[in-house]
Symmetry: C2
Subunit: 358 residues, 2 copies
């Protein structure tokens, strides 16, 4: 492997001049520059980031730790959207001429210390700490010594974080349903202890309040359990209960649940969307686009969150964070409207209630 000395010799200059050509930190004569560039090309020279890091005390590395926080060893599909986070973050980080170092614990918590040790050995300059679902976390002490941004999670100490706007997303979805003429909107929720559950239910309620519609509490039922093995044991009963309240649309806590509801409704001979509209959450396109009919869903904007988090981290690292910048950032996303939701004609009463909106 050619070094800067080889290039210098080939170009007939000092190593420092080669360095100047690469970094542009001091003027270099045009003729010299070209000679150096030719030599670099001829020798297929690639600078060593190790040497650079050592001398400059800057690694240019940003660490991302994912799949880190699972309590269960089998977190299965929860980790899938991470790839979007990675892509979003990497796009931003590449532009800043840095490199993303990813540590995926694969849900094995006992491997985290090793991974963090690797980060420290490589002198990562900042950390993106990613949770697999919207939740509160407690940071390991060893992560407190460098800039960090939490992604899809938050802590009690107001560490900077980037979160999905669950409340706003559910609001937009329900608001859209109401605009499409739905008044009796069922909601099958996430497990109640989940952060996203509370937020989304709030959004659901705010959309109702905003349109002057009272929420029939029978329309809101818990649709999923925390344990992944019995995750949907409740669903059958929950669906039965909301159906008794005669909704025109069923909002599901996520697309997986919506997929199950498709099956359950069809078993009951209820046609989607002619007899019942259905909506999901996550806009997990692998599901939403290929279900039949296509599933209306509020997007969980992982790509945008990754990009925003990387951006926030870079600003944190360079000290250019605006003083008024909130430590907690919400990322919103549009609702993807597909065929699973059918518009209903508005009758006069409903029009009256809609008029209040504006």
């Amino acid at each position: 492997m050619a070094t800067i000395y080889d290039v210098a010799k080939a170009a007939g200059v000092s190593p420092k001049t080669v360095s100047r050509v690469m970094n542009g930190d001091a003027p270099v004569n045009q003729v010299t520059r070209e000679a150096v560039e030719q030599a670099m090309l001829a020798l297929n020279y690639v600078p060593s980031s190790a040497a650079r890091t050592m001398r400059s005390q800057r690694s240019g590395l940003i660490g991302m730790i994912t799949g880190a926080i699972s309590t269960t060893h089998q977190f299965e599909d929860a980790g899938l959207p991470e790839i979007y986070l990675v892509q979003g973050a990497q796009r931003v980080i590449d532009q800043s001429n840095r490199t993303l170092l990813i540590a995926d614990s694969g849900g094995q918590a006992e491997r985290i210390p090793t991974l963090l040790q690797t980060f420290r050995e490589h002198r990562v300059e900042g950390v993106l700490y990613v949770a697999e679902y919207h939740r509160e976390v407690t940071l390991p002490a060893s992560l407190r010594d460098r800039p960090i941004v939490l992604v899809n999670c938050f802590d009690a100490e107001d560490t900077p974080c980037v979160l999905p706007d669950d409340e706003g997303g559910q609001f937009a979805l329900v608001e859209g349903l109401i605009r499409r003429g739905h008044q009796r909107i069922a909601y099958l929720t996430l497990p109640e202890h989940q952060v996203a559950c509370g937020l989304r239910v709030s959004g659901y309620r705010r959309a109702h309040a905003h349109n002057g519609i009272d929420v029939d509490e029978q329309l809101v039922q818990v649709g999923a359990l925390p344990s992944s093995t019995h995750e949907y044991d409740l669903l059958w009963d929950a669906l039965d209960r909301v159906l008794k309240a005669e909704p025109t649309v069923i909002c599901c806590a996520n697309d997986k649940m919506a997929m199950r509801v498709y099956g359950l409704l069809r078993e009951r001979g209820i046609a989607i969307p002619q007899q019942m509209s259905v909506a999901g959450y996550d806009d997990y396109r692998m599901i939403a686009e290929h279900l039949h009919p296509g599933l209306t869903s509020a997007e969980l904007p992982y790509g945008a969150m990754g990009a925003r988090a990387a951006d926030k981290l870079l600003r944190l690292m360079s000290g250019t964070t605006k003083t008024n910048e909130p430590s907690r950032e919400l990322v919103s996303a549009p609702v993807a409207w597909r065929e699973s939701v059918q518009s209903r004609d508005l009758n006069v009463t409903q029009l009256n209630s809609r008029r209040r909106e504006t």
Copy 2:
């Protein structure tokens, strides 16, 4: 940040002795060792991988390039299973005391040269080159200068690679269907130019031959198009055609297609699995487990492939590759049997034909 000199001073020894304590490459007195270890702990010392890399000329890094090969900029969900590959590879690589450096192009081919440059600057010692679907690729010349293992793809020059056993997987699935009493097995294939299409159809045919069943060619139809926008334009007609051939089960080229077939069959009032069994491919659990009824599917073993590829690469790097080791490795996986396939009673004729198997 504390250095090895700080530790040496604190422990009252030379830096070299500290190095020896860390690396265990020469005997160190027990008393000295303990003093050094205490000093390291007290100073919160973390060795610098940059310095190590520079001196030892070994970076301990393995590069993985993913999402790299897409021709379309929007490869959407194709990239999702990559997370399993990453996890599988990282598990193996961590054990070898190395670090995985992941470069995800996000499907933007123009970013690849930059990413490879980063790899070279960091002196990665080996590369895992990942394709987003089973295909042939042509390696960039700049990757030929270090050990490399292709994952989910292969090239014309017999570069070592790890591939899913599509033929075997489809064979096992169809074989299982036959054992469960199915004789008329429809198959909706991938786009014909795809490598996996040919292999899976071969497996399908071999399972028939193995059981002495003739394949009714009307049962085999192309179910998907290459273009992602018109991907399933064919599906409606293809399904119609295979239904005319009166199958008892429909094998779909992948789980996405199976999900669509669920919808289409139900539109026609055909109950799954009572009137028609359905099977998929990929065992994409997010879909297969939550569809109703649960979808029988042949697993595409991404996790295992990642681990196998990492293992193969490590052996290649250390020169311990067995001389008789094939450059191309197939990874098999079991079929996940779920409720979408119903067993059928075997009549006497069928039993006779089954008897031939053994």
